[in-house]
Amino acid sequence: MHALKKYMASSIGKKQMMGATGISLYFYLIVHLAGNIAMLFGAERYNKYGYLLLHEMAEIIVPVEIILIFAILIHIRLAIQLTLENRAARPVAYAMKKSNQQTLHSASMMMTGSAILIFIFIHVANFRFGGAGMGGMPIVTYDGVAMKDLYGTMMRAFSQWWYTGAYVVAMMLIFSHLSHGVQSSLQSLGFNHPKYTPFVHFAGRAYAILISGGFILLAIWAYFQHGGTP
């Protein structure tokens, strides 16, 4: 155990933990996006999907949520620690410094990450915990089973242009974060191969576009439903 602790305190151990927690989070996003597609099939289908997750599959979903919370906490803690250590490593800044490989995405990980954290708080309050901050969720009944009207709550939220707009901005931040994060996580875990690395760089960017683009398209689709229940 002592050795494990030392590994986690080392610079490489920290970046590998950062990468591993990042992978679990961005892998979760694709599952989340796939689930959200259910909304295209109408209120009943989507509400039943939500009910399925929180009631019939709670034995799986709750542990997964706990793992994700831990992953986020570790990711945040390491981000803060790495940022402070990196600042201390260069106490006097250069008067002039050019970048040749650094991208806007890689340079702004801390900023996009912090903004995404705020988004997660709002998003989880709004849709995971019964419409907190949005006046709660009404109840609907299908085949004698009462469940939360997640679909209606979502449609009402996204019928407001500013809500959809803010959501799109948040997804763009996720795009930026993943653009660097996906390939960075693999490099940290030691995956670099002359045959696959160029593809990994491309695939990382493609994955970022797929995730953020997918959520954005669904949000815009929801906006054009004008809060109605088709």
Binding site: S10, S11, I12, K98, S99, Q102, L189, N192, T197
Partner: protein, 253 residues
């Protein structure tokens, strides 16, 4: 050619330091950057002023002592080159050139453009070697090494320890330097038996010296005068991960 130089002057480690402007006049396009500074220094000596302190040794791009941040880039604007191999034809006549020392907590400034890179020696001393006494040079093919392994090891072994990777890294991380040695020796049969111990000892030393953490910006690779690839960093990440988690060696050893 004529240039205006903005050079960092700092009397000693305790001095706060500041930029000073100098004129470099009648410089030939085929002079190296260091020869240009020599001209400026001769001028300063004639005027009874303190010459600009900078380091150089081989002046042929193999020793790694000529460390300068030129116009915000380690070793200047050309890729794959050291300051001594940078020529004034790479600059425009009349240009203003900003010259700074490497800036990193682990590389304290000693005077003007000279920094103390003892930290690199400490990392090598911690494990960047093979402990077996191998005696004299052996016959070339006594130990058979596959050509691709020998090539990869040679790519990494090209490191001249100049510190440009640390200087260029936004986080002042020494990962590329350490990775080059870990990867170099791990690719060869002579270095392989001790690879776990070596990776653990060198990384632990690096962490203790106050370098920053790698965040995969890859600025080091772009700045390296020997163009050492960040693939060696991934190799070190693998070596360190498996050494720390799977080998019987202790991470602090």
């Amino acid at each position: 050619m004529n240039f205006t130089l903005r050079v960092w002057r700092q009397r000693n480690a305790a001095d706060p330091g500041a930029f000073q402007e100098y004129q470099a006049k009648d410089i030939l396009a085929d002079m190296s950057f260091l020869e240009m500074l020599d001209e400026v220094n001769i001028d300063l000596v004639h005027k009874n002023q303190e010459p600009i302190a900078f380091e150089s040794d081989c002046r042929e791009g193999i020793c790694g002592t000529c460390c300068q941040m030129i116009d915000g880039e380690a070793h200047g604007p050309e890729t794959g080159t050291t300051v001594c191999q940078l020529f004034m034809r790479s600059f425009k006549d009349g240009e203003t050139i900003v010259i700074e020392p490497w800036r990193a907590r682990a590389f304290p400034i000693m005077k003007d453009l000279i920094v103390d890179r003892t930290a690199f020696d400490d990392i090598i001393a911690a494990g960047g070697f093979v402990t077996a006494n191998v005696g004299g040079a052996q016959d070339g093919n006594n130990i058979l090494i596959p050509k691709p392994d020998a090539d990869t090891a040679m790519d990494a072994a090209q490191c001249i320890g100049c510190g440009a990777c640390v200087a260029a890294c936004p986080n002042a991380s020494a990962m590329l330097f350490v990775a080059a040695k870990v990867s170099h020796l791990a690719h060869l049969p002579q270095g392989r038996p001790e690879k776990a111990r070596r990776a653990l000892a060198m990384v632990s030393k690096m962490d203790g010296l106050g370098f920053g953490n790698c965040r995969n910006h890859y600025e080091c690779e772009a700045a390296c005068p020997k163009e050492i690839s960040v693939a060696h960093i991934a190799k070190m990440n693998r070596e360190y991960g498996s050494a720390a988690l799977l080998s019987d060696q202790d991470p602090s050893s």
